[in-house]
């Protein structure tokens, strides 16, 4: 069954800006799906329409088979939303924020409070339940928003940049929790600027740009499309002149550090042979950027060349 199905979804704002140009997108039940795109590409508009915060101009939205136009309440009950910005009442207690959200979905106060405790506990906020929200740290506020979105046990969780501004330790603990949630059957749609996050978590991906879906594929297939990989090489001795290596593109970062673009067909093994022929000894190797980031940047740059800013 499809968790989400968008058909010819279009949005034109009052100022005439066409944010979505009739997009089509399907997300299967149980998927961990990445929706990526540069700023202003249409991600937030898409999420806004699905979660009833933005009125669509035309097109259809189905969530678990429910039509947003005719079965709005069923659609709403199926979705949990973690927005980009912290948007809870900063003066309320964490427990009340989650329990009130459960109440809006028709869960009685007594059960709502129990559910709030459960969600806060799972997200490591059990001891902060009676804390006023504004006193929580940035990472805790992000987790509180996830707890709030889970208050009514939604089947589809939409996370709009959930780890923005969160330190790496908390981000990774959130990944563990989201993976676990996905394993228990919750479909997750994620937008993020940390492409490493999408590459690590998501099985399928759509890239949106200028209001159009420009790529929609399984993560493995998408990454397979890359025709080269970039690495950083740490050298034993400083390099005076940059050697010319056929097929490889070398860039000097500093005297002892090089960046190299390696075409897939040549591979990295041959690079080491050539470097040692030139008397260059490599002592360290790491990825210059993650593969998805590389793909994403290629896509955005190609698009920028085709549509230069006016």
């Amino acid at each position: 069954m499809k968790a989400l199905s968008l058909t010819e979804l279009r949005k034109v704002y009052k100022n005439g800006f066409e944010a979505l140009k009739g997009i089509n997108l399907d997300v299967e039940e149980g998927d961990f799906f990445a929706l990526l795109g540069p700023n202003g590409a249409g991600k937030s508009t898409t999420i806004g329409i699905i979660s009833s915060l933005v009125t669509k101009t035309s097109g259809k939205v189905y969530v678990f088979g429910h039509d947003l136009d005719r079965e709005t309440d069923d659609v709403k009950r199926s979705i949990g939303l973690v927005p980009q910005e912290v948007n809870f009442n900063q003066f309320e207690k964490a427990r009340d924020i989650v329990a009130n959200q459960a109440g809006y979905y028709g869960i009685r106060r007594k059960q709502a409070l129990l559910r709030a405790d459960e969600c806060l506990e799972v997200l490591g906020l059990g001891d902060k339940r009676n804390e006023t929200a504004r006193l929580l740290s940035g990472g805790m506020k992000r987790r509180l928003m996830i707890a709030r979105a889970l208050a009514h046990s939604p089947r589809l969780l939409i996370l709009d940049e959930p780890t923005a501004g969160v330190d790496i330790e908390i981000r990774r603990s959130m990944w563990v929790y989201l993976r676990q949630l996905n394993r228990t059957g919750t479909t997750i749609i994620l937008t993020t600027h940390y492409l490493e996050e999408a590459e690590n978590l998501c099985r399928n991906i759509a890239i949106i740009n200028h209001g159009e879906i420009v790529e929609n594929n399984a993560m493995v297939n998408l990454l397979g499309k890359l025709d080269n990989a970039s690495f950083i090489l740490e050298l034993r001795k400083p390099l005076e002149t940059l050697p010319m290596l056929t097929g490889y593109q070398l860039t000097r970062i500093d005297e002892s550090t090089l960046s190299v673009a390696v075409p897939i067909e040549l591979g990295i093994h041959g690079l080491f042979d050539i470097l040692s022929q030139h008397g260059i000894e490599v002592v360290g190797l790491r990825n210059a950027s993650n593969r998805l980031e590389q793909f994403f940047m290629n896509l955005v740059e190609n698009d920028r060349n085709e549509h230069p800013p006016s």
Binding site: L53, N100, Q101, Y104, G106, R108
Partner: protein
Amino acid sequence: MQRLIAFQTILYKEIHRFVRIWPQTLLPSAVTTSLYFLIFGKLIGGRIGAMHGIPYMDFIVPGVILMSVITNSYGNVVASFYSSKFQRNIEEMLIAPVPGWMMLSGYVGGGLARGLAVGGVVMGISAIFTDLKIAHPEVVVLVFLLTAILFSLAGFLNALFANSFDDISIIPNFVLTPLVYLGGVFYSIDLLPGTWKVISLVNPILYMISAFRYGFLGVADVNVERAVLIIIEFILVLLLWTLWLLRRGTGLKT
């Protein structure tokens, strides 16, 4: 049933909000009322003399109570709803299966509760300063409820259109306050010369205060039944307008 729980949740949240910040919401009316009674009642009230044959201090009690109800019902809804819009936590309700009319009912219920709480406090203070009697309790309850609902609706409407905190202070300061003060809280319109009396009759708040005064003292400047009908008409107009705006998503959705 689920919708009833959603309504209860909004109402609980609204009541909890104004109780939590009681020094900002309940205390100011108590202080202001005490000052009114001290200055207009005790200090200069004796020089003013009776109105409609009633001692001045007793005469101003209903108006002072209703004035608190009007400003607090309006203020509660406009401040709370606009803050929710500003902080964007209104989205908590917009993404949930809470229809617009349910959201409106919850906020109006909150405004009504604050009006009731403040009205109770002011009435308690009035009982200290005056010999408080209620001639027609049913009129007092009816006018109180209708007025609180009307101004809660008006506060909601103001917040719906507001785009800044300035927008939620313009109407209370420059429209509501003059209308309340010129609505006969401290005087009977019988004291006014012909033209001013006619102009006063255009002020809807005059009808509310007058009908409320009738409930307490048995005297009124206007026909009480007509006054109640006017309040109901205003409620219906604001209610239908607000529901229409909510349906369109005005001020809430893009």
